[in-house]
Symmetry: D3
Subunit: 285 residues, 6 copies
């Protein structure tokens, strides 16, 4: 399946199930084997795509959060059937067993007159996410920001989670508010859709991405650390921002193009942590 996260530029997606208009701050999931076509009515688009070879994205079990919270089922939009009754030449590109194939046909593949069922593409507007978090102290796991999850057969181990960091109130008291320094058995691929991410306010531009693979240590940069440890902890509304994370139990590879050819790798990225010092003062005995 394809999980599309446009960062700039509107997508007009035609699928066998109908049409979807997907704008930045929305996401779109297209199941495996479904034919689709993307047009860019307003010019170039840029964004992120996650491809998963197995399973389905679904809403997480909410547990004590109860019947409402996080992404609500009623906010997911499915297309209505739309058909083209035309005889034109179409090229169909297919990825199968990691190879690309192309076929030609003389009529539109978008000729479905009606449909029912639940194996269909959908979109979701991230602004409708009901953000839940601490209203007392501590920094909960980012799983509390899960929009959709693609489960593996092992309970608690996701093939992939889609997690967002939307505008929200931060009010935790007597706490280090940004994400603590950590290692994660899951790989964290982050992207920024809009504004500044609170754990790295400089250098993580919209359209950029960071990757911390399995057990790679990371956390706030020096600047974020200093601010979080010195600021007075009043209620603060984050500015208009939207970062996200694809979190996966599989190790993610990076293409040679991304590592070298693209010229976009931030080779000095590690320096954002360089100035962090030991702040530990052991007790005198």
């Amino acid at each position: 399946l394809r999980f599309l996260v446009p960062q700039s530029g509107v997508l007009h997606i035609k699928t066998e199930f109908g049409k979807l208009q997907v704008s930045p701050n929305e996401i779109c999931v297209i199941p495996r084997g479904i034919k689709y076509h993307v047009a860019l009515p307003e010019g170039p688009s840029r964004g992120y795509i996650l491809e998963v070879y197995n399973g389905h994205f679904e809403l997480p079990e909410l547990g004590p959060i109860g019947a409402n919270g996080l992404a609500n089922p009623r906010d997911f939009c499915y297309p209505v059937a739309h058909f083209e009754d035309c005889l034109e030449k179409y090229q169909i590109f297919t990825k199968y067993c990691n190879q690309l194939y192309v076929a030609t046909q003389e009529h539109s593949p978008f000729n479905v007159v009606a449909w029912c069922g639940n194996y269909a593409p959908f979109k979701y507007d991230l602004a409708k996410f009901n953000v839940i978090n601490t209203v007392s102290f501590d920094h909960p796991d980012p799983s509390i920001f899960t929009v959709l999850t693609c489960k593996s057969a092992l309970p608690g181990v996701a093939i992939a989670d889609f997690v967002i960091f939307p505008p929200r109130w931060m009010i935790a008291e007597q706490t280090f508010r940004p994400a603590y320094y950590h290692r994660n058995v899951m790989a964290e691929f982050m992207g920024n859709l809009r504004g500044q991410y609170d754990a790295k306010q400089q250098g993580f531009l919209p359209g950029g991405a960071s990757l911390h693979n399995c057990m790679a240590a990371h956390g706030p940069d020096l600047e974020a650390f200093q601010q979080a440890t010195q600021v007075e902890l009043k209620p603060v509304k984050t500015p208009d921002t939207m970062a996200f994370m694809f979190e996966t139990s599989l190790a993610l590879g990076v293409s040679p193009w991304a590592l070298t050819e693209s010229g976009t790798l931030q080779s000095e990225y590690w320096k954002v942590w360089a100035g962090l010092k030991s702040n530990f003062t052991p007790m005198k005995k």
Copy 2:
């Protein structure tokens, strides 16, 4: 089992597993069949007791809340073994099949020199609860305040939940912040341990209790409604308060003593909703 919620006065509880000092704002659970004795070192105590004939109280599965949040396992306190090596006359009161029995013995029942296992009494300080709630909009289900749950054999249907309303930040925007008007298939028995409960600020005194049985409609009183609909929705820290709820899928009966003999029934309780009016203005066509 007995679930003790003292509201005033310290309890010195001696059990077969050791001693527990339980103060107001703490709770204590004593499993079925465990002998215990309660002393009141500072004078009279007052509070609430829930008796459950089946099952165990356990922490809820946290779901997307993740590894930390709500009540943390490390904050539950178990006694260390304590023994009395004395030969005195003891009376043992037992409740069995809804009858009380008494037996006499010539030595202390509190003679356990060491123990291991997990069927033991414990206490928990409600101030250590990591409160989670919306940091955006809407009013989540009170299940998000669950401290402990006693599950039935039907998934999602608790024999009893213990839920608290502790001090916390309320920041929900574009929302009616108090509990919405509702009917609940579970019975809601509420008590107030300290301060004012935000959906009923007058007349719900510490030590008091309210009961809304299965499908009895309820919600904020007139005063709370008016305030919630007129106040500007800035971040607000609730004052020092602690209300709680025993929520159960069983219908709760009320004893004749509570209904009449005690003289404490608020027979005019229903009037707190009496002034609520229809605020609905249908659209003109």
Copy 3:
């Protein structure tokens, strides 16, 4: 909850969630605690009501039947919100802990302007049931006719199943086609909505009912037995008929009214089996 099965006469049901028109050959389920009012626009109605104190009716897991078959989810109809903005006197009757109560209020309880969620009344047209059965030999269990099931906490043990015997092709070869003679650990309450039931073609009139409680032996009457053992087994379409069964793991009591006062008890019902004889011829050795 109430499970309504009208046999004659249309029901106009007003609920807090909106209006439902329920005709014979349709069923209607109203969840616990939901206020409703039934009008009879075409005169008297007659039918069957099942009251369940716990759980919910849901579609059975289809197993190998796959994604389609039996009752399809898309055929269940839920009301849209409907409100009455009037100030009239209403009497609300409530059944609670097996007692009836009445309350009076000065405005309509049917004042819900909009709703979302899944705890709502619904109706279903039995003609839309996709009947599955043998297309080879043998007589499958009546569970294959399950429309809705209300599960208990024990897998495989239903609090109640709603099962129908709709018009269908009977083609089983080399088989005794009617239900075989059996005892059932579940109680079988049958009703007839229309036409003739194939295992008892005489004396089981529309609007009538039969009850075979836990482990009461039963099966086709003499006439049905004779026909089934003598007729040539060609494909046969059952005539226009609709019988149903409430099957429950609980023993069903019968009211004194039904047993005596109503005068409708068929006291000679047992005679339909009286003529059945042993057809067994042991092999000579």
Copy 4:
């Protein structure tokens, strides 16, 4: 494990657990690691073998089909112990980690005098399958023809299903009776054991096979389409036929031998759909 489906010629299979005679229209499953020898007493045999590296084949949960239907447990035949008390030279061929090995020993491996347990080879006669299907309308999923399933760790996702299309009555009304046009996330490998398959009556000979891998669209050929849309829908007993499907969630590769060297590939297979035309007439507005 090996799943054997002979299409012509009897198999005399000697295993460590005893002997099995497997004829066409029967299937045989030999668990992993069990030594066996196949003799062909009546001359050459031809058929299909599925090899699965993990899991076991088991009967599907029947769901609402109830206690009887599809393949009945009592119809599976296990061998009784049989031993050879001889000292002869034997060659044992083993496939391990996708390599073939051979070992030599001086006595028969078929020397088991008695056994108990449930890890044993078995056979099943496909004629004993109790075929279930619609007796009203629509075309159920082929899962309704499942004989045996080999589950993966993901509920609902089989490593492999064995599905048959046996003689049966087809009586669906107001319906397109053959399999509808579809794409399937599982790969469909079909074989024909006897007679004509109803969705492709020409060109799919006994002993032949077709493969529609993951998401490859397929359905009835032109001839089957024309017949199904024009014929009067009376009850029809399929002629003597037996096609089957290995359906798997894994993509199936095809060997170079099958693709080219064997000379048996039907390179014009796609033409059976070539004449299908759009039959859609949009409504005038």
Copy 5:
């Protein structure tokens, strides 16, 4: 269902499924609703009957014990069909909703010529139980002696377990070998079939019974305690003995007949513990 445990005298049990001869040291389970008749060919019989109103007895999941151990499935004996082709008068006694009913019929109820399925009576010889226990130290829970269990809907909470104490080697070292002093949330009904029970060697005669209801403390009597604490712990084979326990999560009532009328109550039973003294010597500090 009826769970029969004869202690003396052979039972000839005729059931609708065939005949079972059940001798002391064997047990027999007859499912609910199955007609049966018991003859006593060798004169009076004596024993124990457990009646369960719900569920089925099944083998426990063995966990790490693996594929063999405790009661093996192959040792359970089911009857073959047996019929009586006679016309005689029969009285059928039925217990329904705790009332006894009697019906008369003119032919034998034992007229089943053949049967298949798994809802049938069976017997088991307790001598075939593969006893598992510690071969190092400590005294495992008596659940390790479980022959059959009747599960409730709550995992780990049985409606009833049937547990036996058969002949076995006792080799635990550095241990108090008899059952430790304990209270049990389940009720323990014990019977003795043969020989001496090791935790109470005097006064617990074959045919006798003891009952320790929920949370009633108990353990070895004075004599057993003294022997167990003074004897050298060499491997010891228990003598020929067979005690058993019905253990249930429900409280068991005792009939007035058993308490008084029968004259068999051991009113001085408590005295077996009377001589037990405190053996505790606190450490000097």
Copy 6:
């Protein structure tokens, strides 16, 4: 994760969670991604390491064994936090996607001042294992010796089990006491920590290892067979011994070094079974 089984020589293991001293007859598990350093205070060490790329080791569900038995939770030892507040050069070796990497840093990685949670290294003393086995007859599955298991997503199929053969009483009567001759769908890697293993008393030295991969037949050698079939079956305490098994559902490869370069392969190992003869004497008819 790393599962360490030292056979000779003490390990001083420094981890991010604190220090562990692990001696022969103890095992240690270090979770994935945790930095650690091993010192050998008493000179060279030798032992076994299992590396698992997925999952966690946990205690097996005990089933009827009950609340106590096998490895008890309270006997697992976790380190307390220990930190080094020093600025020295450290090299960190990491294995990632089957490659080794090294990084250099200027301060100690062992600088954790306090921790809570359950993802931490631990050790366990094998002498504390409560050995359970038959006290009657037969030879139970080695699963009864399971210390820890690492589950896969398929119930009953472990990624790896750690199983031990500790000192214990063997008392099975009328039985072949050693492991019977068998093939196993799981690979069995055995090591010997101390003394003689009872199914191969010669040639399986402490520090040695044997591997029987999936379905490779094996069992006692000639000497063990002869002794077990001729000795009188009295209770026998095994001598001081400790062998273990890593049992896995995955096939284990052997490195070229182990096969040839090390010079330690026992190329004549197969000869220990060479003298075994057929002892079968068929019945005369």
